[in-house]
Symmetry: C2
Subunit: 330 residues, 2 copies
């Protein structure tokens, strides 16, 4: 563990603490931290620490905190409320990580970041899909072992891409899929007339209808109490033989346990970046069922997305100190 | 080896011979061969035979021949000319496989097939690119061994895709790249004003200019005496650190030996489906240089492309028998 501190001697300035980090973000933080010169002191801990007591100790005396991927439980929030007046969350779905009502009562401003990774996640969804349709990773491993064994591919052109959830990422995936000459079908709780028209997208009446009529289905819903388990075992059964399910959103969108069971039949494919437990346990049915391409929650993790995310966190905190409402949730 | 024959007893009918095949095509041929009932007999050999003497023996007495991936040397062409009056070539660049002048003198109709694999090859070019930018195949191998290790990705959005050759496949790649939100830059010997406008593509003055100003370069030229070695060592040197070269066209487009040498520097990436010698020798510098993703000439090989190719070969031969000029080259 190492700590990066800016202007530690200027104790008259307020204190921003970033009590943990991931390696890929440290570089971007280093680049942007000088922007706080004269506004606040910064104390950045560079390791991926998740122990609540250690985190609490590190945040002691902080006026503002940037939260990178740890849950702020009610006890921790109470401890933090002694000094903290702004929590900038390094992700979008902050309501899954902090009790917003409680924070409001404590008078803590909560910020999140938005659309920082739309391109990153959308492109990863397509990358998962293409490893299923073209098996480049598999052939590349062969080639580097001296094996020349072409594998048959599947074409995306003319196939139907079914998209569940049509926010920033869902629309981005649809645009890429249109570039491939795929037909777009969408299920969404919200109308998106302009984007639907632009992408010549058809509307599905239900998730079940979408699953039954698409060659590829990609999930792009936010996760909350309304979307937990929104894709049922029955929907998965509606997938036709040979079709492909992509999930770069959240594993909990799918009825618990039902995906491994559907995949066991061996007649569909799945490209998955998200899992019920992460890191995935060593023994997990999804590791052994046929037809799966798996990545370890890496979709968000590009050079550009990380930079966008850190940029927005910095802006949220600066907005707090300068009296602007940047990315404020409550 | 097995032989499939249709109506062998009807010796009054002319004879079409397909003297070799690849497994992936056999299924499609089986499906379409009944269309020749009453037009000609068909004799299909299902193995991947390349021995010229064996091939000559198999084609004995044929009026028409479908050539799948073997070179028709001048000697073989002379032997064939005794009975054969139509050669339907199962690919586009037939002039690299048959002496067209000579065939014309013998009075043999030569047909090729076109655009059967535009989508297949274009999608494979993107699949190679995405294994470089997102490393899904690499992470998937880890995940199936129980390793949870996210790898950093690169985003395509906003980057520049440089395309060398703007025919059917080059334009197809450009359309997909536009879907990703990439900027398109093209070098082509022919004007393509409408497609350039539609794709908001910029024009490069030279191949060197294109290599120097693109984040990704993808080759999509036909191979002939004018394009052999058209990409020089000097062009490769112009690639900026971190840029990506994709070749799904022909290895011979690049100055012999220069690509492995450029890759040895270790500052660029390459996704390659084509090689100077195929199958690639077990000892080859491209297997060991850093930053390469390799596939064994598999870009053309999708369910749909194979079906398109066989469909066109069948149409060429039927056109020959029924007096129509289908896919005629000379």
């Amino acid at each position: 563990m190492s700590v990066i501190e800016t202007t530690p001697s200027r104790e008259g300035l307020p204190l921003l603490v970033i009590p943990n980090c991931v390696p890929v973000m440290v570089k971007a933080f280093r680049e942007f931290l000088p922007e706080f010169d004269g506004i606040c002191r910064v104390r950045l801990f560079t390791d991926t620490m998740l122990d609540e007591e250690v985190l609490a100790r590190r945040m002691k005396g902080a006026d503002a905190v940037i939260v990178v991927g740890f849950h702020v439980g009610d006890d921790l929030l109470r401890t933090m409320s002694q000094t903290v007046r702004c929590i900038a969350f390094g992700g979008t779905g902050v309501d899954n990580y902090v009790n917003l009502e409680q924070a409001k009562e404590y008078g803590i401003r909560i910020c999140n970041i938005v659309h920082y990774g739309d391109a990153a996640v959308a492109e990863h969804a397509i990358a998962l899909l293409m490893e299923i349709t073209r098996r480049v990773g598999e052939m590349n491993a062969d080639m580097h072992e001296g094996v020349w064994h072409p594998l048959d591919g599947m074409e995306l052109y003319g196939k139907t891409m079914g998209i569940v959830g049509f926010g920033g990422i869902g629309q981005w995936v649809a645009r890429i899929a249109r570039g491939f000459g795929m037909n777009i079908k969408v299920w969404s709780r919200h109308p998106h007339e302009e984007a639907m028209r632009e992408l010549q997208a058809a509307s599905a009446e239900s998730i079940h209808d979408l699953f039954a009529s698409s060659d590829v289905v990609s999930l792009h819903l936010a996760y909350n109490r309304n979307t937990r388990g929104i894709v049922t075992a029955d929907d998965l059964d509606a997938l036709r033989a040979g079709s492909i399910l992509i999930n770069t959103a959240r594993a909990e969108l799918i009825e618990a346990g039902s995906l491994a069971k559907r995949l066991e039949k061996g007649d569909i494919y799945a490209g998955l970046d998200v899992f019920d437990r992460e890191p995935m346990p060593e023994v997990d049915p999804l590791r052994v069922v046929p037809g799966t391409i798996l990545t370890p929650h890496a979709a968000w993790c590009t050079d550009t997305a990380v930079r966008n995310a850190v940029r927005q966190c910095i802006d949220s905190v600066r907005g707090f100190y300068t009296g602007e409402a940047t990315n404020v949730v409550v």
